[in-house]
């Protein structure tokens, strides 16, 4: 007799609402001819707001749903919020971009919403299969979105490169999962943890752990698995690049942390050493390669690689302090990077014609407010107080110091100093150099302005009053320990 699993919709309600909003856009978009982008954006925002409300009960839950496939806990709560913020701001800043490019593609919003739903399943997944399905839901949506610019060869190329390397990474991930399954006989995270605590840890399980680690490192773009990042970030439509750089990273890190701290704690000594080496490589290569970039999208791509290195430090430090640092960092990074890419999308104008660093000359004169916002984002990325980026770095570095990783922190601080150079170059271009021909000042649409105001306010607010948010992050990591 097969017993049906108990259905608890609380855990998946936020993701369901996003999918529902996506389906509504698909139906409505079919009938509308004019203003389809604005309507889809509005429906998407309503769906995201509803999901934010539906997400609240997760904060006080500590449960699992659907036969232990999905964890319903505060950890998912926090990261769901990060993902919803990322999706919401992306949708807001995409309307203007799509209008400028002349693409009346309402499917764009649908895919962003579906990708966000996939991210939520990845974050909440309490079973390797669930995490894999979440990962693929988000990846396949983003492969399509990355190739979404009809006229651009670069965009297709980015999509193809992302698909091939993403597929390769999920192959690695799955093979690792198969080996873990062979070693433990189950793939549920709690089952794996129980198995490894009871018995000794064999070679099969270690190989599986290594392959899963490689799969995750591809997704968070840690060196040496970062090759796809600059090309994909450069070729994809800019608002989507923003979404990729924060949403995919947050979801991948969330699942990375959950799998390694819940299921594979017995291997902590092994994977900490691997991550140590990867973090050092990632920080050095990311920051050094960013210095020589002239294209701002590629510069921010390498900067996002470097930030993956800083977040890895939080994982190496481990414990409540390290992981809550990771969560806070992801929140801070979401606001900062979305804002920065939002401005890159605006300055880029039609056809992304102006995405070189030199196109930022004189922005301080022509658009003073935009330049101020961009400076704040650059400060935050460089980790200068009073911005959120500073608190994030400070929390992670001090957690690592408390665990005795002195050399790691020294390398991190040195590479941060290198990063100040290229972030400040943007600010220098905006204020101290003048272009040969001054282009007309940029006009902001209300949605874009709202997205930029929210991200600027977010960067400053959680940077100046970090206590609440650090407290929330600390509260959210409890289910893992």
């Amino acid at each position: 007799m097969i017993s049906l699993p108990e259905l608890t919709f609380v855990g998946i309600l936020p993701a369901l609402l996003l999918c529902a909003a996506g389906v509504v856009i698909l139906v409505v978009g079919w009938f509308l001819r004019r203003g389809v982008l604005v309507v889809s954006c509005a429906v998407g925002i309503v769906g995201i707001a509803a999901a934010l409300i539906a997400n609240n009960p997760l904060r006080f839950a500590n449960d699992s749903a659907f036969s232990n496939m999905l964890a319903v806990d505060a950890y998912s709560w926090f990261l769901n919020i990060v993902i919803l913020i990322a999706a919401g701001l992306t949708i807001l800043m995409s309307v203007r971009y799509l209008e400028d490019e002349g693409i009346a593609m309402y499917e764009y919003f649908v895919l962003v919403l579906f990708a966000a739903a996939g991210m939520m399943f990845m974050v909440g997944g309490d079973h390797i299969l669930m995490i894999y399905i979440g990962l693929e839901t988000l990846s396949i949506s983003i492969y399509i979105l990355a190739g979404g610019l009809p006229e651009s060869v670069k965009s297709k190329e980015a999509a193809m490169k992302y698909l091939i390397l993403g597929g390769f990474a999920s192959g690695m991930f799955l093979y690792g999962a198969a080996l873990l399954f062979g070693a433990a006989g189950t793939l549920s995270l709690t089952g794996l943890a129980k198995h490894f605590q009871a018995g000794q840890v064999g070679l099969l399980a270690k190989a599986g752990m290594g392959l899963i680690l490689v799969g995750f490192c591809f997704k968070v773009s840690a060196v040496p698995f970062h090759m796809w990042t600059p090309d994909v970030y450069d070729g994809a439509p800019t608002p989507l690049t923003a979404f990729m750089s924060v949403g995919v990273k947050a979801a991948a890190f969330a699942a990375f942390v959950r799998v390694f701290f819940e299921a594979l704690t017995q291997f902590q000594v092994d994977w900490t050493q691997i991550l140590w080496a990867l973090a050092v490589l990632t920080m050095i290569l990311g920051n050094v390669a960013a210095v020589v970039q002239e294209n701002i999208k590629r510069m921010l791509a390498y900067s996002s690689i470097a930030h993956a290195g800083y977040i890895l430090i939080g994982m190496i430090a481990g414990g409540k302090a390290g992981i809550s640092g990771v969560l806070y960092y992801l929140l801070a990074y979401t606001f900062t990077n979305l804002g920065a890419f939002g401005i890159v999308a605006l300055v880029g104008r039609k056809g992304e014609a102006r995405i070189m660093l030199k196109d930022y000359r004189g922005l301080g004169n022509s658009n003073p407010l935009l330049a101020v916002a961009m400076s704040i984002f650059m400060f935050s990325l460089a980790g200068i107080p009073p911005t959120a980026g500073f608190i994030g770095k400070f929390t992670i570095f001090s957690a690592a110091l408390a665990q005795g990783y002195i050399w790691l922190v020294i390398i991190a601080v040195l590479t941060s100093i290198v990063s100040v150079f290229y972030y400040f170059r943007v600010i220098m271009k905006m204020y101290m150099e003048t272009p040969e021909t001054q282009p007309a000042a940029l006009q902001l649409s209300p949605a874009t302005a709202a997205a930029l105001i929210i991200s600027t306010a977010g960067v400053l607010y959680i940077g100046i009053f970090p206590t609440t948010y650090l407290g929330l992050a600390l509260e959210s990591v409890k289910p893992l320990f």
């Binding site: 299969l129 894999y132 399905i133 693929e136 990846s139 396949i140 492969y143 399509i144 190739g147 060869v153 670069k154 297709k156 190329e157 980015a158 999509a159 193809m160 490169k161 698909l163 091939i164 597929g167 390769f168 999920s170 192959g171 799955l174 093979y175 999962a177 198969a178 080996l179 399954f181 062979g182 006989g185 189950t186 793939l187 600059p230 090309d231 450069d234 070729g235 390669a289 970039q293 590629r298």
Partner: protein, 100 residues
């Protein structure tokens, strides 16, 4: 008599062939086929383990992996068609607009 080891060795060889193929082959279509080969090697490992451990879980996972692989290759071929329409060829060497 075929044992678990035989299946695992075969799956490892297939996975390796697929991975090498992704890295060295010059045609996008062949690269996509190599990706499929990797995933099917994984499926073989899952099924072999499931049989060995007497657990259904591994077999269920295979069904999911097959669905996802089909979706992925559908998108991959669509992008390949889009590239072909713009450039008239679908070689890996045609993906060279961007280079660091």
């Amino acid at each position: 008599m075929l044992t678990l080891d035989h299946y695992l060795v075969l799956s490892a060889i297939l996975f390796f062939l697929g991975a090498v193929g992704v890295m060295v082959r010059a045609q996008i279509i062949v690269v996509l086929m190599c990706l499929e080969l990797m995933l099917n090697a994984v499926n073989l490992a899952f099924v072999a383990f499931a049989r060995h451990l007497g657990s259904v879980e591994g077999q269920v996972i295979v069904l999911f992996v097959m669905v996802v692989a089909a979706a992925e290759v559908a998108v991959g071929l669509a992008i390949a068609v889009a590239i072909f329409r713009q450039k008239g060829a679908v070689g890996i060497d045609d993906l060279r607009v961007m280079k660091w």
